[in-house]
């Protein structure tokens, strides 16, 4: 079993980077009640990949337009910019409905583009991802994106916390709440755009939500929430690999099920504590 896992150790390293980055940002995603922004951004990222594949297959790609990572980045960051600037929240349509529209349309457009792309793979790759395909080079790229993002979050922890917890008071103390929100969403978009290339919508969404929920159930302070969120994401990724590789199970869903079990255990611990 160990040998089989070691065969895919490079993929495991990449999965761990994704797990750590997403589970840190996921704490804000869950606490700010923007879990579906995470899902919509992941779906927009997949639409960006599909667009690149379609343009490349049609022979009309120029410059970066045929590059999946570049297009995923452009489309996801545009979405992050839109949601970060509270786009769609000022009109008569409720903000969560705008997020729903973005999610549904991005998913459908992605599938349609892949259906007509000559170089495309089956569309379920976007949903499930192909985490076992991560190479050492991919892991280094993921690190190059994740480390600066995590440093920004470490450095500006108190600013992100304040504008997330009580934006009105932060504003009266001179904080540019809109700017901080935008930075938070852009870091989120950046991580999602790169993580999506390998992990797929389902697994990225999982890493953004379930570990943070586990953290909130177990911890009594913010530091504890981050600790348990990251720990449970790493544990889920490792156990998911250990179970999926030898038993020939899809790795992404295996990780998600383990994340769910960990969240359930955390809920049990919480209940026992009273």
């Amino acid at each position: 079993m160990f040998d089989a896992v070691m065969l895919f150790r490079e993929a495991l390293y990449g999965a761990l980077v994704i797990a750590v980055a997403c589970s840190v940002l996921g704490v804000y995603v869950v606490l700010r009640r923007i879990v579906f922004v995470g899902a919509a951004l992941a779906q927009l990222s997949s639409a960006g990949i599909a667009l690149a594949m379609f343009l490349s297959g049609a022979g009309v790609a120029a410059g970066l337009t045929g590059h999946p990572v570049a297009m995923a980045l452009v489309v996801t960051l545009a979405g992050a910019l839109f949601f970060g600037m509270e786009g769609g929240s000022r009109g008569p349509v409720p903000p969560d409905a705008t997020i729903g529209v973005a999610y549904a349309v991005a998913a459908a457009v992605g599938i349609l583009l892949i259906a007509k792309a000559r170089t495309g793979e089956a569309h379920d790759i976007f949903l499930q991802g192909n985490i076992l395909s991560i190479t050492l080079k991919d892991t280094l790229v993921l690190l190059a994106v994740s480390v600066p993002v995590l440093l920004v979050h470490l450095l500006f922890y108190k600013e992100f916390l304040f504008v997330s917890f009580d934006r009105e008071t932060a504003r009266t103390l001179g904080y540019r709440v809109g700017g901080w929100n935008l930075l938070l969403y852009l870091t989120l978009g950046l991580v999602i755009a790169f993580a999506m290339q390998f992990a797929g919508v389902m697994l990225v969404f999982n890493f953004l939500v379930l570990p943070a929920v586990t953290g909130l159930l177990l911890a009594r302070g913010m530091a504890g929430v981050f600790f348990w969120s990251v720990t449970s994401a790493v544990v889920a990724a490792v156990i998911g690999f250990v179970l999926s590789v030898p038993f020939d199970l899809p790795t992404g869903p295996a990780i998600i099920v383990v994340s769910g079990v960990l969240a359930l255990l955390a809920w049990g611990v919480r209940r026992l504590r009273g």
Partner: protein
């Protein structure tokens, strides 16, 4: 008494929609002002203009140099899902003084503890904010506003949703802060009866109208009946003013005194 915030011929609104116009008044040092009116009348609009987060459509709002507000938001504006201890919440009041990307130090923590002692809840420093009662939460938010050493304490509906005991205690605490520390206080509330017995001046915002004056000037049957558009009685009981909407008898209409 010098003007900390001065409104001169101010019109307030959003986009093309005017909410209030012709506002000329000043909040002076040592003032204890109640900004009172029904929900949706424009209290928050005036408050935002005072705080500087809403620019006037016309006129000017001048603030004294170096003016610093200690803002106490409505309790439901704060997200209690965040697993934050009381001391952590109070420390937020010093975040801008601590500076960008820097962590609170021992001095900040000492000041936060002193602020908690000031509002009478030092023993709650290590407790989770979400586990506190409404009154304790409000004291925590007041401590957070005080720890930043403000010139003006601004409270937005501080007693909203509280029971009689907590309401009395919180209003008593605010009055004590005003009298003991000579702190300038602006208190926003929809409850005229609560506020009128604690503040020194009242700014009444009702149905697009605005009137400001001492409690004695505003708390008259003539002024209140005119502002609210219904017959109003002002009685006194043990030194407390009580405002009552006059009951209509058969055949009487609203607005008839």
């Amino acid at each position: 008494m010098s003007g900390l915030v001065t409104f001169s011929g101010v019109t307030l609104g959003y986009g093309r929609r005017t909410v209030l116009s012709g506002l000329t008044f000043a909040v002076s040092e040592g003032d204890f002002l109640g900004l009172v009116g029904p929900n949706g009348a424009g209290k928050t609009t005036v408050l935002r203009a005072i705080l500087g987060s809403l620019a006037p459509l016309e006129g000017t709002v001048a603030r004294a140099p170096g003016l610093r507000f200690g803002y106490v938001p409505q309790r439901d504006q704060v997200d209690y899902n965040f697993p934050l201890k009381v001391l952590d919440v109070v420390l937020m009041g010093r975040y801008d003084r601590i500076g960008l990307a820097r962590r609170p130090g021992k001095d900040d923590r000492d000041r936060a503890m002193a602020a908690l002692e000031h509002v009478g809840i030092p023993e709650l420093a290590g407790r989770q904010l979400k586990d506190l009662s409404g009154g304790q939460k409000q004291r925590t938010l007041i401590a957070r506003a005080l720890v930043g050493e403000p010139n003006v304490l601004v409270l937005d509906e501080p007693t909203n949703g509280m029971d009689l005991v907590s309401t009395t205690q919180i209003l008593g605490l605010v009055r004590e802060l005003h009298e003991r520390d000579r702190l300038t206080v602006i208190m926003v509330s929809h409850a005229l009866n609560e506020v009128a017995n604690y503040v020194e001046r009242i700014a009444l915002v009702v149905g697009g109208g605005f009137r400001i004056g001492s409690v004695d000037e505003i708390m008259t049957e003539t002024v209140l009946s005119e502002m609210y558009g219904i017959p109003v009685e002002v009685d006194s009981f043990n030194g407390h003013r009580i405002v009552l909407a006059r009951r209509f008898g058969a055949g009487e209409e609203a607005g008839r005194v």
